[in-house]
């Protein structure tokens, strides 16, 4: 049965069906095989509804909405200008600023796609003008946006937290270390690239310009304070922090900066609603799918036949990374989390792995996956907003993907990269 379901899914997926269809079809076939007909389809619907029931999922649309308001208003630009004023002039400074801006914007945005739009749109023209090749620029933008997935907030972490019953607050803080590690790695590569290709440096901003940029960015800099400070200060739950971000973004853009008109809120909310629906229908059908494989005891069978149970903690982590990496080449990250997490759950439990560490690695893998061909939502976003052909967008990615895999290996070897801050924040 496992084999049948897998073949159906892969087949429909490769043919280009909307991603909910392979999941639904495989699940329905599973139900028919298990219950000899359509008699128990009610349970599939029940589990779909169960998938979108957890209260923590509310954080997803809220963070999307906050980031959307910021991107369309001025907050994102102000943050980027501040980064540029400080490090724009060093060797490879524009590229490093791009990676740093992705990190900083990532402290507000929960999705990689929003980051591609917010940071890529203003900085790509500047990088091209400064002499960076377009393939390098595009690859940097779509891969550095991965950092936004690791720096809290993160939609991937929220969904992993919900389905694995892991604390979202702990996941959030554990993502900071790996996010910064990747920023350092990317910055070093940018430096190397700038030297090798003799990219000229930019003029240095004066201290008064820097002062002004900081003053302009002061308001948006409160977002990370709300999220990180609010959650770890015991003021908000992650969901509440998300809603407060929306409120804060609204106050900034509509009242303080006056960059948006009240009528815009309708369009922004509609766009957020659309993105949410497209993600949540996958969460819903993904939950229905994982119910039937759980009912049929498929995860246990697969793990046993592959011998993961004997592999020990490191073996399980490596297996998780490989499986998620491959799956993310073809499937949307959210779907991968929904389908694979329950499959690995028994192995994670059996080996006593820290679910937070697993969550960080999974988030990293799916972040990498959003920029790996052939399927990558960041790739599609870049194609759509930069109007560049597919091949051009992905040509420069291999060095970045290599660095990201290295980062995953480092986290497996030194889990403290992720867990240090978590243990510090949640120490007694």
């Amino acid at each position: 049965m496992a084999m049948t379901l897998m073949l159906i899914m892969i087949g429909l997926l490769l043919l280009g069906f909307p991603m909910m269809i392979p999941l639904i079809t495989a699940a329905v076939v599973g139900f028919v095989m298990m219950f000899d007909g359509f008699g128990q389809m009610g349970t599939f619907v029940q589990q779909m509804m169960g998938g979108i029931r957890p209260a923590s999922l509310i954080a997803v649309p809220m963070f999307i909405l906050a980031a959307d308001i910021m991107t369309r208003g001025q907050s994102a630009d102000r943050l980027i200008n501040m980064v540029m004023a400080f490090i724009g002039h060093i060797k490879g400074g524009l590229a490093i600023s791009t990676a740093t801006s992705c990190t900083l914007f990532g402290a507000v945005s929960g999705s990689t796609q929003a980051t591609v739009v917010a940071v890529g749109s203003p900085l790509r023209p500047k990088m091209l003008k400064a002499g960076y090749s377009d393939s390098f620029t595009l690859a940097l933008i779509i891969n550095a946006s991965d950092i936004a997935f690791l720096i809290p907030p993160s939609i991937g972490m929220i969904i992993y937290g919900v389905i694995s019953e892991t604390s979202i607050a702990e996941l959030f803080i554990a993502g900071i270390g790996p996010g910064l590690l990747i920023l350092v790695m990317f910055s070093m590569y940018c430096l190397f690239y700038a030297f090798k290709n003799k990219v000229p440096t930019e003029p240095k901003a004066s201290w008064s310009e820097r002062g002004r940029s900081v003053r302009d960015a002061l308001w948006p800099l409160f977002f990370p304070v709300i999220i990180v400070g609010g959650i770890y200060g015991g003021i908000f739950s992650p969901t509440e922090a998300a809603a407060v971000c929306v409120l804060y973004a609204f106050l900034l853009e509509f009242i303080v900066f006056r960059s948006l008109k009240l009528g815009d809120i309708y369009k922004i909310a509609k766009s957020t609603g659309l993105i949410t629906a497209v993600v949540f229908i996958l969460v819903a059908v993904g939950n229905g799918f994982s119910w039937i494989i759980s009912f049929a005891q498929i995860p246990q069978a697969i793990l046993e036949s592959v011998g993961v149970n004997e592999a020990g903690p490191v073996g399980v982590l490596v297996a998780i990374c490989v499986a998620f990496f491959i799956a993310c080449m073809f499937v949307d990250p959210i779907v991968v989390i929904l389908v694979l997490t329950p499959i690995f759950a028994p192995a994670i439990q059996a080996t006593g792995l820290d679910p937070v560490l697993v969550g960080v690695l999974i988030t990293l893998q799916v972040a990498i996956g959003s920029a790996t061909p052939p399927f990558g939502c960041d790739i599609f976003t870049a194609i759509a907003i930069f109007k560049r052909p597919y091949w051009e967008v992905i040509r420069g990615t291999p060095p970045f993907v290599f660095m990201l895999i290295l980062a995953a290996a480092l986290i497996i070897a030194f889990p403290q990269i992720a867990l240090f801050l978590r243990d510090l924040a949640f120490a007694d």
Partner: protein
């Protein structure tokens, strides 16, 4: 045949032990096999209940507290100080009570469920950020409760601020002091490590975490007389075993907790202190009757009659 059984706890927890004892008896005394599904494998509490009603699952174990959306009267177990505190009397209560053994099965039957056993899992223990012995000391404490209006009413009556929160966020919320306390049986406080972040244990004696094991009624009615007896005997066997299991479980868990942390304090309320909490119970009873009407009132009265009977023994 292969029968399916789902419960709402993790490996090694009380419901899991019960399920595996039930399985052991069935498989040793017949050719039937039993597949046990643990928490989350087939969805949440509500989900496995519906799946049992739909006949996908043959047996389900669900705490009456969660059954509230289906059988509001089952929330009676959230009324504080309705059950006795000491183990022997509780066991006797569950064995003898007319409310439990006659009234509840009828209510479950209305929803297509054959109630096989109701049993206690453990005494509810409150953990707080500081020791407390009176409702006054509960005031302004945010205490996490499951999403249930009657349970909220209980903590409201105790003077605290009930705060509904999903289980996954409880540990972190205690750690960051977003909430100052929670309630659970002691073995959960131990296995969930909650004492690490909420080290002051208060034995208020206000209630027992109770649970119920039932079968899909069509399935049960369709069984041969021999199989019906098998199922009943297996449930009785698991019940006897589970009472033995939980006896001493609380003490073991407490010993483990005290060994793991020296910040832990244990407060056992004396009769006088309990009285100050018990005095707040009528408010919750009133709310219960408001929510469940005449039937709830009858059930509540029967509970009290049953309780008197066992306490006079």
């Amino acid at each position: 045949a292969n029968w399916r059984y789902a419960h709402e706890e993790y490996e090694g927890d009380v419901q899991d032990v019960f399920a595996y004892k039930f399985k052991e008896y069935i498989e040793e005394n017949s050719d039937h096999t039993l597949q046990v599904y643990r928490f989350g494998e087939l969805g949440e509490s509500d989900d496995i209940m519906e799946q049992t009603q739909a006949g996908i699952l043959n047996f389900v174990n669900q705490s009456p507290g969660f059954t509230g959306a289906l059988i509001p009267e089952a929330q009676i177990f959230f009324i504080p100080y309705l059950l006795p505190t000491d183990m022997d009397t509780v066991v006797e209560f569950f064995n003898e009570s007319k409310a439990i053994n006659e009234m509840f099965p009828k209510m479950y039957a209305e929803h297509g469920l054959e109630l096989l056993k109701m049993y206690p899992e453990g005494e509810m223990v409150v953990t707080l950020d500081e020791p407390a012995t009176s409702p006054e000391e509960f005031s302004n404490k945010k205490i996490r409760v499951m999403t249930n209006p009657l349970l909220s009413e209980t903590y409201d009556a105790f003077g605290a601020t009930p705060t509904p929160l999903p289980w996954g966020e409880v540990y972190g919320a205690l750690q960051t002091n977003m909430i100052q306390g929670q309630e659970n049986p002691i073995f959960w406080i131990e296995s969930g490590g909650l004492y690490e972040v909420s080290p002051n244990l208060i034995f208020t004696g206000h209630g027992w975490f109770t649970t119920a094991m039932m079968a899909n009624q069509n399935f049960y009615d369709g069984l041969s007389d021999g199989d019906k007896k098998l199922v009943q005997d297996a449930a009785d066997f698991a019940y006897t075993e589970i009472l033995e299991h939980i006896d001493g479980l609380a003490d073991e868990a407490l010993a483990k907790i005290q060994k793991a942390s020296d910040k832990v304090t244990v407060t056992r309320l004396n009769e006088e202190q309990i009285e100050t909490f018990r005095a707040r119970a009528p408010q919750v009873e009133k709310k219960f009757i408001e929510m469940t009407g005449k039937r709830g009132e009858e059930l509540l009265n029967q509970f009290k009659t049953d309780l008197e009977a066992v306490q006079n023994n």
